[in-house]
Symmetry: C2
Subunit: 310 residues, 2 copies
């Protein structure tokens, strides 16, 4: 292949990825891994696409509150909905996690799984990311798309392991990342089987089944995949346990972190950030020699449309 | 292929399977389904292997009680453990579901996922099925092994969707059925991520996460796969909702039931059976024209070792 990972600049991060893939696919090498065991797991928010000004799924939930407000006149004077309707992010933030749970329960449950998929796809088509004016699916990182593709060319199976909602991501993950629904692991709600006019439906309930973050990531990997990945990529402390779990297997392993260093082309944040904070996982990466991708230095372009502008 | 499904006798059941597979794989046919959507789900107990004299996993749990009894002297006089230790199946049955839950909690939790896998594999190697004297993995149905293989030759992805324990099955499903862990869906316990001497482990907890039976089967299919199968095979009322869910999709569908009609070579039971009862699902199959496999008439051999005896 002439242009391996063309959106990656030459440097230690790109080289560590290529070295790893060559090592585990060299049939007579000591680090050879058979194709069935070539599993690579990727966090989504901040690793495969941007997560500012807020997790895109939260922006989706806020748009849903606005779309549903006519049917809920009481929301105009009830928090946390009032804060959403008035675009008062400070008031929303003051409600903490409880406010988010209420918003998600109201906007992500009560409909069938098929209805929810339609709502997500409709939003993905019509909603625009505030600072770029682009559809959210254009906020995916071109270098990571190339990496996913490069891995699959080498008989890796690529998984998403994200704190985001599993059915939120599955609606578009195959089109955007080439990752089919059965390779998407995320936070999930309980669903209930019902017959409606003799036709079975699955109804989404306002109860959490699995929180796929921090310790929940290796739990989710074990639950859904049942075998340990050999490669893991994240960007925040929420990915630390997934990286530890991956790293602890036998044989050669790859653990990587995307470091948001590019205030001009994307965003710059790490220690102390309220979304996607990178602190303890960074320390462990430095300690263990995991790969740290410096977005500013290592990526030639961030988004695919940067190429048109170049 | 000259010998399609050689352990199946000519007849309507075998023919309905072949017709379905030919229809969905005929590239210019009106029923064509692209390979990514060729998902087939199979119940395990009573569909891929036998379930008498009791679910094999229950026999495993009872063997575990005996193996652990030295460390639990109180079990000699405490139900339901006393019943297990005295092989008193009536006393055990009188404890109902609560007794089973207690036995499973004691024997299936408290260890790491890796330790549990070792325990299962050890049992599979050493334990013997009471009436045949064979390892349990030799109680799999040869005609169904051929069907799994035939499906995969036609680019189907084959899944297990079973009320049995997901990690109990995953330990041997790839060796026995050619079905890798990520294609096994079952009843699961909660697990907890821990660092032990700096090494991450997942500990199995005595709490259920998912019961993969009846309404839980379509819930599990949606949770793990995220798309609807086009083919489903079961043998009991516990599979009815999985068959309904599969049948309700657009396009050609295959729904099948294994009917245990062979008292001589295997077992004969249906309506009213306390294990693997087939009643409401049978009525629905008759009503909707689902395929019913008559084990006595449709299967030339039941187990692979019947061929050696032939």
């Amino acid at each position: 292949m002439k242009n391996k990972l063309p959106s990656w600049n030459e440097g230690p991060a790109r080289q560590s990825i290529i070295d790893f893939i060559e090592a585990v696919t060299a049939e007579n090498g000591s680090d050879y891994v058979k194709p069935d065991d070539r599993l690579a797991v990727f966090d989504n928010d901040g690793t495969l696409w941007s997560e500012r000004p807020a997790y895109f799924q939260l922006l989706f939930a806020m748009d849903r509150v606005k779309a549903m407000a006519d049917d809920h006149p009481d929301w105009a004077t009830t928090q946390p909905f009032q804060a959403v309707l008035e675009d008062d992010l400070d008031a929303l933030a003051s409600g903490g996690k409880k406010a988010l749970v209420e918003i998600v329960a109201q906007t992500h449950a009560g409909m069938s799984t098929a209805e929810f998929e339609d709502i997500v796809l409709d939003w993905m088509t019509t909603a625009r990311h505030p600072s770029t004016g682009r559809p959210y699916t254009e906020l995916v990182y071109q270098p990571m798309l190339e990496l996913l593709s490069y891995l699959r060319q080498h008989d890796f199976t690529t998984y998403i392991v994200s704190g985001g909602g599993i059915e939120f991501m599955r609606a578009w993950s195959e089109d955007v990342y080439g990752i089919p629904p059965q390779q998407v692991i995320g936070t999930s709600v309980e669903t209930q089987f019902e017959l409606r006019d003799g036709r079975p439906v699955l109804v989404r309930l306002p109860e959490i089944n699995h929180v796929d973050d921090k310790e929940g990531k290796p739990v989710g990997i074990n639950r859904y995949i049942g075998r340990r990945p050999i490669m893991a990529f994240g960007n925040s402390d929420g990915d630390q346990q997934m990286l530890q779990w991956t790293d602890a297997g036998d044989g050669l392993r790859f653990c990587g972190l995307v470091h948001h260093t590019d205030a001009e082309r994307e965003y710059a944040y790490d220690r102390g950030a309220h979304i996607g904070g990178l602190d303890k996982a960074w320390d462990e990466a430095l300690d263990k020699g995991w790969t740290i991708v410096d977005m500013e230095k290592d990526w030639r372009w961030i988004y695919s449309w940067n190429l048109d502008q170049a």
